[in-house]
Amino acid sequence: MILVVLIGVLFVGGVIAWISERINPDYPRLIALVAVLLDLLLMVILLSGSAGSEAQWLASIDAQWMPRFGISFYLAADGLSGLLLLLTAFLGVIAVGSAWDEIKDRPGFFYFNLLWTLAGVLGVFTALDLFLFFFFWEVMLIPMYFIIAIWGHENKNYAAMKFFLFTQVSGMLMLISILVLAYFHYIQFGTFSFNYHDLLAVSTGGELEMWVMLGFFIAFTTKLPSIPFHSWLPDAHSQAPTAGSVILAGVLLKTGAYGLIRFAVPLFPEASLAFAPVAMTLAAISILYCAKVAFAQSDIKRLIAYTSVSHMGFVTLGIYAWNEQALQGAVMTMLAHGLSAAALFMLAGSLQHRIHTRNMQDMGGFWPKVPHMATVALFFSIAALGMPGLGNFIGEFLALLGAFQSNITLTVISAFGLIFASVYSLWVIQKIFHGEFASTNFDDSQLTDLSRREMVYFGAMMLGLVWMGMYPQTFLDMSAAALGGLLAGSQELVTSVVQN
C-alpha cells in the first residue's frame, strides 16, 4: 500500500500544485517540495524498516485491473527498486530546488508536470505487471514533453518532439514484445497474464525469443541511451530547463537500465546471453564514441549530455556481463551518475541562468568570480571522470571488473573510456573556470556565486557521492538480495547453455 501512497502523493500533489497557482504563484513550488519531501521520508521509512529483513520484496500490492487480459495493478519494490526510488525522490527534491528561482512562468503547471514525471518514474521502478510497467513508462513521457516544450530553451520544439518520438516509437516495439510474451503465456498456460513472475516462466524459445528480446532492448537502450539510439538526448538535455535536465539525466535514463536489469535479461536469458556480445559492443562504442563527441561540443549542456551517454555505456556493459560485480557496478553507476550528471546539469543551468549562454567558447576564467561554483564544478567533473573515493568510481570499477570476467576485449576497449572521460571533464573545467576572465560575449553583471540554497543542494549531492564512494556497502547491501535473486534465476539456464 505504501507504494500506492508514494505514487499517489505525487499525482495528487501535482494536481494541487497546479490548482494552487490560482491562489498564489508561490504555492506550487512549496507544495511540490512538500510532496517530494514527504515521498523521500516515506521511502526512508520503508527502506529502513526493512533493512534487516531477508525478504526479497520490501512492499507490494496486487489488485485486479483488467481481468480480460490478466492485467493487474501489481506494484512491488525490492532492494533494487528501493535504491532507485530513493534516487528518484532525492533528485526530485533537488529538481524542485533547482527550479525554485528559475521557473517564474506558469509555475503551477510546471510543478504539476514535474511531480507527474516523478510519479511515472516511481511507477516504472515498482511495476511488476508488464502492462502496468509500460503504462507508467509512457506516462512519464508526456509531462516531460511539456517541461521541455514549454520551459525549454531556444530549440525546444525540436528537442521535445525528438525526445517524445524516440521514446514512443521504441516503446511501441516493447509493447509488441510484451504482448508476444503475454500471448505465449496464453498458449502455454491457457490464460493471459502480464504478471512478471508468470512471464518469467514463459519460454519463448528459438529465433522469436531474440526478436522479442530486441523489442525490450531497443526500448530500453533508447531511454538509456546507447548508440545508435542516443541522438535524442543531447537535444533534449540541452533544451530542457534545469529541473528537466536533472530529472532526465538523473532519473529517466535510469529507467532504461532498470528495465534491462529487471526485464530484458531475466525474461530472455538465452537470447540475452547470445546477444550479450552485441550489447556490450554497443556499450563500448557508446562509451568511446560519445566521449569523443562530447569533447567536440561547445554547448556545455550538450557536452554533459554526451558524457551521460558515455557513462551509461558502463551500465549496459555491466548489465550484459551479468555477474554480481558487474550488476552491482551497473547499479552503482546508475546512482552515482544520477547525482553527478544532475549536479553538472544544475551547474550548467545556473551558469546559463546567470550569463544567458551555454556556449563554452564565450566563457573562461570564472574561478575568481565564482569560486564556490568552480569548486563544486571541479568536484563533480572529477566525480564524472571516475575518481576513486567517489561513487562513480565504485560503479564503473565494479562494472568493468565484472565485465572483464565475461568479455575481455570489450572491457579493455571500454576502459579507454576512462581516459577519454578525463580529457573532456578537465577540458570543461579549463574552458569555463580557468584562464583569464573575459566577459566580452555576455553580460556578466548577473554572474554571482552560488547562493546558500544552491550550496545546500550541491552539498547534499556531494555528500551522497562521497558516501557512495567511501562506504558503498550501504547501497550494495540493499540491492544485493534483489540482484542475487535475478542472477540465480537465470544462472541455471545460462550455465546449461554455456556447457552445451
Partner: protein, 486 residues
C-alpha cells in the same frame, strides 16, 4: 419472417429516432423554431440512446430478415445515438448565427442517425444499402448546409459535390458487388461465400468481395480510396465533419466487420493480401499526408485515414486469431475513436461558428494559456489519438496490438509502429502550437457563443476518455460479452 408485435420492442431505439425526426419535421412545418427543433432532436436522441442501453442486456432478436437487434448492434446504437446527440449539442451554437433556415439541419441529423442505426443492425444487403444511403443522403445535405450563407467559413458546395459524386460511384461498386454475391448465393442476407455454387470459381467470389470492399473502403476512406476525405472534411461545417468522421465511420465499420465475418472473406488469401495492402497504404498515406498539414480539419481527416488502417489490422487479425480478441479490438477501438474524434472536433466546434472556423493550427496558438480547459481537453484528445496512456486511445491501440500479435501480423504491426511514430509528430505539432504564446494575429479563442451545454459535453467526453483509459475493465467486460454476437 414477417413483422410481429414482439418485434416492436427491440425496434424501439430506431422508432424513437424516427419519431424524433418526424416530430421535428412536423414542428418545422407548424412553426419554425430553432431552439425547439434542436431540443426535440437532442431529447429524442437521448431517449433512443437510453432505450438502447436499457434493452441491451437481454436482447437478441432478428427483426424481419433486414435487422438483427442483438447486444452488439444495441451497443453501437447507444454509441451512435449518444454521439449524434453530442453533435447536435455542438451544432446548436455553431449554427446559431447562420443566415439561413437552420432547422432542417437537425432534421437531417436525425434522419442520418436512423440510417446509421440501421447500418449497425444490419446483416442484409437491403438494409445495409438503405441505411447507408439514408446516412449519406442526409450527410450530403449536412455537408452542404451553409451553402446559401454569404459568409460561410467553409466550402460546403464543393465538399458536397465531391462527396456526392464519389460516394455514389462507390455505392455503385458496392451494389454491383452485392449483385454478384447475390447471384452466387441466392440470398440478399450476408452469408458465407465459401461454398461456391456450381460453375462459380473462386475468382468470381473474390471479385465480388473486393467490389463490395472497395465501396466500403471508400466510405471508410481507406487508401487508395481516401482522397475525398480531407476536402470533404475541410469543406463541411464542423459539426457535419464530426458526424461524418465519427458516426459515419463507426457505422460503416460495423457493417464491414459483420460482412467480413459472416461471408468468410478472409478465407481467401488474396483478400487478406489486399486488405493488408490497404491497411498498410492507409496507415502510411494517412500519416504522411498529415505530416506537415496546417489545416486542423485536414489533419484529422488524414489521421482518420490512418486510424481506419489500424482498425483494419484488427479485422484482418480476426481471421487468424482464435477467440474474439480482434472483434473486441475493433469494437473498443471504434468506441475510443468516436470518443476522441468527438472530443477533438468538439473543441474545434466550440470555438468556431458557421461564420468563422478555427481550422488552422495557428488559430490555436496559445490556447493553453487563454483557455486552459479547452486546451487540456484538446491535448488529451490528440494524445489519445496518438495512443498515449492514461487515455482511451492507448487501450484501443493496445487491443489492436494484441490482436496483431496474436495473429502474428508482423508486417502490419511494423506499419502500425511506423505510422504511429509519424502520427505522433503531427499531433504534437498541434499540442506544441497550443503551448506557444499567442501572437497578436491569433484570433480570440471564442468567435461565437459560449455554450454551457457544449462544454458539458466536452467534460463528459473528457471524463470518458480518462476513465476508459485508466479503468477500462467494466467496458472491456461488456465488449467481451457482446463480441460473441458477431
Amino acid at each position: 419472417m414477417n413483422m410481429t408485435f414482439n418485434d416492436l420492442l427491440p425496434l424501439m431505439p430506431i422508432l424513437l429516432v424516427t419519431a424524433t425526426a418526424v416530430l421535428a419535421m412536423v414542428v418545422i412545418g407548424i412553426r419554425r423554431s430553432y431552439a425547439m427543433t434542436a431540443s426535440i432532436t437532442i431529447t429524442g436522441l437521448l431517449l433512443a440512446a437510453v432505450m438502447a442501453a436499457i434493452l441491451m442486456p437481454g436482447t437478441n432478436r432478428q427483426v424481419t430478415p433486414l435487422l438483427i437487434i442483438d447486444q452488439y448492434s444495441l451497443f453501437f446504437t447507444v454509441i451512435i445515438c449518444a454521439a449524434a446527440m453530442f453533435i447536435a449539442i455542438f451544432s446548436f451554437p455553431y449554427l446559431s448565427n447562420l443566415d439561413d433556415d437552420k432547422e432542417e439541419y437537425f432534421l437531417l441529423l436525425g434522419i442520418a442517425t436512423i440510417g446509421a442505426v440501421v447500418m449497425v443492425s444490419s446483416t442484409h444487403f437491403i438494409s445495409t444499402v438503405l441505411g447507408l444511403e439514408t446516412l449519406s443522403m442526409s450527410l450530403y445535405g449536412m455537408v452542404a448546409y451553409p451553402l446559401h450563407s454569404k459568409n460561410s467559413a467553409t466550402h460546403p458546395l464543393e465538399a458536397s459535390v465531391k462527396y456526392l459524386v464519389l460516394s455514389a460511384a462507390a455505392s455503385g461498386f458496392m451494389l454491383f458487388g452485392m449483385a454478384l454475391v447475390y447471384a452466387q448465393t441466392g440470398t440478399l442476407a450476408f452469408s458465407s461465400l465459401l461454398s461456391a455454387g456450381a460453375g462459380i470459381s473462386e475468382g468470381y467470389s473474390i471479385a465480388a468481395l473486393l467490389l463490395i470492399s472497395a465501396g466500403i473502403a471508400f466510405k471508410l476512406s481507406l487508401a487508395p480510396f481516401h482522397m475525398w476525405t480531407p476536402d470533404v472534411y475541410e469543406g463541411s461545417p464542423l459539426p457535419a465533419t464530426t458526424y461524418l468522421a465519427t458516426i459515419g465511420k463507426a457505422a460503416m465499420f460495423v457493417v464491414l466487420l459483420r460482412f467480413v465475418e459472416i461471408s468468410g472473406a478472409l478465407n481467401f488469401t488474396s483478400v487478406v493480401v489486399v486488405f493488408s495492402l490497404i491497411a498498410v497504404l492507409s496507415i502510411l498515406a494517412g500519416n504522411l499526408l498529415a505530416l506537415l498539414q496546417n489545416n486542423l480539419k485536414r489533419i484529422l481527416a488524414y489521421s482518420s485515414i490512418a486510424h481506419m488502417g489500424y482498425l483494419l489490422i484488427a479485422v484482418i487479425a480476426s481471421f487468424f486469431a482464435e477467440g474474439t480478441i480482434s472483434i473486441e479490438a475493433v469494437t473498443f477501438y471504434l468506441l475510443a475513436y468516436v470518443i476522441m474524434s468527438l472530443g477533438a472536433f468538439g473543441v474545434a466546434s466550440v470555438v468556431s461558428t458557421s461564420k468563422s472556423e478555427f481550422d488552422d493550427i495557428a488559430d490555436y496558438q496559445g490556447l493553453f494559456w487563454r483557455a486552459p480547459w479547452l486546451a487540456a481537453i484538446f491535448t488529451c484528445m490528440l494524445l489519445s489519438l496518438a495512443g498515449i496512456p492514461l487515455t482511451v486511445g492507448f487501450i484501443a491501440k493496445f487491443y489492436v496490438f494484441m490482436a496483431g500479435v496474436e495473429s502474428g501480423l508482423w508486417v502490419l504491426l511494423a506499419a502500425l509502429v511506423i505510422g504511429s511514430g509519424i502520427g505522433l509528430y503531427y499531433y504534437l505539432r498541434i499540442v506544441y502550437c497550443m503551448l506557444t504564446p499567442a501572437t497578436d494575429k491569433t484570433p480570440l479563442p471564442f468567435s461565437g457563443v459560449e455554450s454551457l451545454s457544449s462544454h458539458s459535453v466536452l467534460a463528459i467526453l473528457f471524463v470518458l476518455l480518462l476513465v476508459l483509459g485508466v479503468y477500462p475493465a467494466p467496458v472491456m467486460a461488456i465488449i467481451e460479452t457482446i463480441s460473441a454476437f458477431i
